[in-house]
Symmetry: C4
Subunit: 189 residues, 4 copies
Amino acid sequence: MTKNRLEAFSDGVIAIIITIMVLQMYPPAGGTLKSLLPVLPVFMSYVLSYIYVGIYWNNHHHMLQATHRVNGGVLWANLHLLFWLTLVPFTTHWMGLNHLAPVPVALYGAVLFMCGSAYYILAHVLIGLHGHDSQFGAAIGRDLKGIASMLIYAAAIPLSFISVWIALALYVTVAMMWLVPDKRFEKSF
Amino acid sequence: MTKNRLEAFSDGVIAIIITIMVLQMYPPAGGTLKSLLPVLPVFMSYVLSYIYVGIYWNNHHHMLQATHRVNGGVLWANLHLLFWLTLVPFTTHWMGLNHLAPVPVALYGAVLFMCGSAYYILAHVLIGLHGHDSQFGAAIGRDLKGIASMLIYAAAIPLSFISVWIALALYVTVAMMWLVPDKRFEKSF
Amino acid sequence: MTKNRLEAFSDGVIAIIITIMVLQMYPPAGGTLKSLLPVLPVFMSYVLSYIYVGIYWNNHHHMLQATHRVNGGVLWANLHLLFWLTLVPFTTHWMGLNHLAPVPVALYGAVLFMCGSAYYILAHVLIGLHGHDSQFGAAIGRDLKGIASMLIYAAAIPLSFISVWIALALYVTVAMMWLVPDKRFEKSF
Amino acid sequence: MTKNRLEAFSDGVIAIIITIMVLQMYPPAGGTLKSLLPVLPVFMSYVLSYIYVGIYWNNHHHMLQATHRVNGGVLWANLHLLFWLTLVPFTTHWMGLNHLAPVPVALYGAVLFMCGSAYYILAHVLIGLHGHDSQFGAAIGRDLKGIASMLIYAAAIPLSFISVWIALALYVTVAMMWLVPDKRFEKSF
């Protein structure tokens, strides 16, 4: 089974996710800079989520590049990852609409945690298919960065209720960690 | 005639269908967990429909993988399938908005029945093109799972008016039946 | 210059056009069949426009299949065609919202006329590139069906003000004429 | 690393950007030509932005055609360009909604300036990868047209507050400059 359609379908879904978020940034009725102010938190949430979805696309690209074959299990693990990514516009929008209230900020982290877990599952389904001793398995290795990201998200969720700024700082930290594309695949293949 | 653009166009349409459903899940004005409660039935409808559309993409992928050529009839049979799939977000949304009232639940089933029929027609147009005795024809075989799905949908539509929970249980049952990708094509090709 | 990205981009735009039309069919607040009635004219407009956009995709597919190369002029002729196609959801929606009032029905025809003209221009830019005596040029021939469609649209626009049903019957007639994919390319190539 | 998915993903995002702009052109409640009048400035903004996004797609197509390889830096430079392009529907819509008030017209220019800068960065990341003395580097050359466009945008932003018509005339001028696809790549490769 070839991986072309898996890549094409994922590209389509991620392209839509990344683009519809800006659709939810509704232009204000007034034509002044001041009338644009309430849009600012929505815009900041958009920037953060754009970077996140961009990171997922980038890493997905790198991981699939290194993949030799796919099967039915990979298709579903990929659809599972895309499912959680489709929820990012919703949580982004809710967080922006409520000027960073604790519950939306926590839910934003929970969806990121699920995205991270789904990516981890996809990587491990692919390792199962290629073998632990394959180049692919070696490239993933112990996946410390993936595990660290999930631990940080898991910490950020309860911390949102103490201060949303701590949670947001943690989200930005994880984004920074991943902004550099996954060198493991570039190096090994 | 190559099948590449048929696959690419179908991927595009299905990617949009699966993604716009979440767009219809509008975030509530309040920033509390309680304010999120009314979104729950919309979310549950989204999960069910995401799985359904994912199943169609998966099986479409498997079937087209096994296809050697397409013609004008296949293009239209495929557009016919995509037409019914595009109605899934509408019926999903209506069902979610009305907290699972009988008519929306029945209409949801009717659209699934039409999707199933359209998939059946597409499979048989492809069999006509490849021949009953071809590998493709043999892989489809008597298509008992496809026929069973349509019978269950046909039963669920009137049963919605007795209890929407029976209808929903039947929809979930069919989804479970198909969650495993169509092994017929994986095995034969 | 390869035609792959031209096809992929057109597929993306047409997939979105065909899918967003159904987004404009907003589900009613009530959960009864009666509450669905006002959606009916919007649904009927959707069906007609889906068939139209499907025809364009089909013929675009056939024409590009027969194309050997593209240049900057072809890219712009194609973007021009896509521009008019992007207006179809707007006119479809306006026609559906206003229960087939004369002006929206006439504007619907005007946009179809522009789509037809843009397709005619694209075909002739491609003929210019391949040569009149090429297989491609011979396959297009005198393009009587394209010219007839434009004449029928041109007649339907003023006739909308006498009776919208005459105009709609003419739109359906042209759709019927094209429902069969363009055999010229299937035969010659 | 192959450039296929980079092209496919960019095509997807640009296809959505170009198509959702028309979604923001909401049909009026009335069914007369007069009721269509308030939609006219939104339509004119749409036409201008469609041409702009079309130009970017066209030039992106030409530039990537000439590209031999991509790396992680190119992926991020490309995502950066797509980010600013996704803001075009927002500024287009705001400009159309406010009947060309100075601040929205200036912001429209600012987003175009950022798109131009991001395209310039992408071109130079690609030159860095291919080498200044490569065919690719020679084809870009001193990029006078790119630099001129950015200077014109930079002038148009403050000029919006003197007269929006001067700013709009400058935007149209830059569009005219680019409407011809980038001959540098067609000639050299």
